[in-house]
Amino acid sequence: MGKSAVAADKDATSGALAGEEARRRDIQNRWLLATPALVIILFAALGPLLIMLVYSFLQKGLYGGVIWNFSGQGWFDVFLSKDIFDDTISFADAHMLIFWRSIKLSLITTIATLLLGFPTAYFIATRSPKWRGVFLFLVTIPFWTNLLIRTFAIQEVIKNEGLLNIVLLKLGLISSPIQIMFTDTAILLGMAYVYLPLMVLPLYASMERLDFRLVEAGYDLYATRLQVLRRIIIPLVKPGIIAGSILVFVPSLGAYVTPRILGGGKKMMLGNLIELQFGQGRNWPLGAALSITLLVIVMVALLFYVRNASKSGVKSHG
């Protein structure tokens, strides 16, 4: 009796060991699966980032590039400027203006695409499955064309001799063309157009999963259309709103092509400022420092946004 109990005990131990072994191997295999992605992230994302960080603390080369001496000048230039005559230090107003414009335009773009994209996504999600495919296809068509070409197309519409002004003039709504090109409005129009699909798609994805019986239940319990929207639909599609906003806000903040073409040289955004430093400006450390600053702004904004968005509602909902 005692002997068999001991034997059983030993069996159990070796069984547990075998289980432990299998579990370890399982975890190993999973890491193996993730390896290719990890390698790419390490080399393609973290690597360049590290280089940027290092460059931002080096001395600028005369004709671009860097000199391998430590220097805080790059970071100094991001926020402050020294007067060339009396050496007084003041805020780098031009940079602050560009930071502010970038954040402002990106925020407005995000809100505009949200306001436009929400009803669009709702419309698509409430069609029959056959039509949903068709509409989704239509939404993604802009992706098939090069960003430059799309931006030039917008230019054709909004320039002084463009389609918009011609139509408005013909209708007699305006007496002389409105100047839209090279203004913040032009950049906004361009960015909203370019990033709208990035808002519609995640919104659609979460609306498609929305149980429309909940909407009916809302109506049944005396909620009007607006109340159903506010208290049922929006809280339930919040993951889509968050995802869409991030997908629009982040690239907007770093946008380069759209402000370059539609804003001309006059209305710069952060992307243009950074490009300038690596190009004509020949100030790589400043460019690197600006890039890191952009990254920090994005991360802080995201952290703030996600924290706030998930605080209100979306307790148990996927």
Partner: protein
């Protein structure tokens, strides 16, 4: 007071037709349906899948509008009123609880939308939680309670705004048998305690019989018969109704003569049986005679009292009663159900020549 409420139907449908789709996708979900549902009654829509029960409920709730016809609530035409303007609430088949709200928030939602002050909402929610015995779950997420509890929350949520009419679309179908029986009793209790008109949808005939004041039996978009459970069971108006509710024997026969509300039915085998008729105006000709298994009796051998004769085929024992399957001499099968008595054992055995005696009041004559 009661008579005033009775005078005007709580809900009435007037020649309501509902068509979905068009062309080859055209479905007539409701076909010229007219029915009056009285105030304070437990009214059940009973019928097989796809017969239009949910459609009728959705028209009353306001999620859909009739293609033609009219729906009245207490005499007022509500056919085109949006759902949030109707004093009608629904318990959905899937419960449709709001996943981003707690149990209490779900129950209070209707009152909140009606603009009630928070103190009143809190008091009412507590009352409802007590009514459905869920006090302890007040602040739980709806995903963290069992199916039966979700069902109670759905019920409390629909009852909290004190609707005039409560619509219940197969609310018990997702529950296991035991819980289902409990909830049936619970629902009956809630209905009598609140005095609200319940319109209950089910395709379970036993559930319909035990719970309802009145039942409407539906088939293919039409209401075939409306009546008390007893009327529906004992006097089905259509072969479909007789077949759908309970077990039934059908006998093809010919009505040969009628006098003093008694008809002579000539069966296929040549024998003639008597049947009570609602009046003398019933036309002669081919009919179907319907006899419930428990309304017939087995007799030994070829007794004179026997209306039908045959051999005992199968004997199925059910505890309180036994089903005797009789292979009739003319080829058909007839089932007799008899209560078991203490000295019954061995009285009947398979292969016995038996007769079936049928009282004239046990025969229901149908013509379809």
């Amino acid at each position: 007071m009661r008579s005033v409420a009775d005078a005007v139907a709580a809900v009435s449908a007037h020649q309501v037709t509902k068509v979905f789709g068009s062309g080859s996708d055209r479905v007539v979900a409701l076909d010229d349906v007219s029915v009056d549902i009285r105030a304070n009654e437990f009214f059940t829509l009973l019928g097989p899948s796809g017969c239009g029960k949910t459609t009728l409920l959705r028209l009353i709730a306001g999620f859909d509008h009739p293609t033609s016809g009219r729906i009245d609530l207490e005499g007022q035409d509500i056919s085109y009123l949006p759902p949030y303007k109707r004093p009608v609430n629904t318990v959905f088949q899937s419960y449709a609880l709001f996943p981003h709200m707690t149990v209490a928030e779900n129950i209070g939602f209707g009152l909140k939308m009606l603009g009630k002050p928070q103190s009143e909402i809190d008091a009412e929610v507590s009352k409802m939680l007590k009514l459905v015995k869920m006090e302890a779950m007040r602040d739980r997420a709806t995903s963290a309670i069992s199916g039966g509890q979700q069902q109670r929350v759905a019920l409390a949520r629909a009852l909290a705004p004190k609707p005039k009419v409560l619509l219940l679309d197969e609310p018990l179908s997702a529950l296991d048998l035991k819980l289902r029986k409990e909830m049936q009793i619970e629902l009956k209790r809630l209905q009598s305690e609140t005095g609200i008109t319940f319109i209950f949808v089910t395709h379970d005939q036993e559930e319909a019989l035990t719970m309802s004041d009145r039942i409407a039996v539906m088939s293919a978009g039409k209401i075939l018969q409306v009546g008390s459970p007893r009327q529906i069971y004992d006097h089905p108006s259509h072969r479909f109704v007789a077949d759908f509710i309970g077990e039934t024997n059908f006998l093809e026969a010919e009505l040969t003569s009628v006098s003093k509300r008694v008809g002579k039915l000539k069966l296929g085998s040549g024998t003639t049986i008597d049947a009570s008729l609602p009046g003398d105006g019933v036309a002669k000709g081919p009919v179907t005679a319907v006899v419930r298994p428990e309304h017939a009796n087995l007799v030994k051998g070829k007794a004179a009292a026997a209306s039908l004769t045959g051999k005992l085929g199968n004997i199925v024992y059910f505890g309180t009663d036994t089903h005797y399957h009789v292979a009739l001499d003319d080829g058909g099968e007839f089932i007799v159900r008899m209560q078991n008595a203490r000295d019954d054992a061995g009285r009947w055995s398979v292969g016995d020549a038996v007769g079936v005696s049928i009282d004239k009041d046990a025969v229901q004559v149908l013509r379809d």
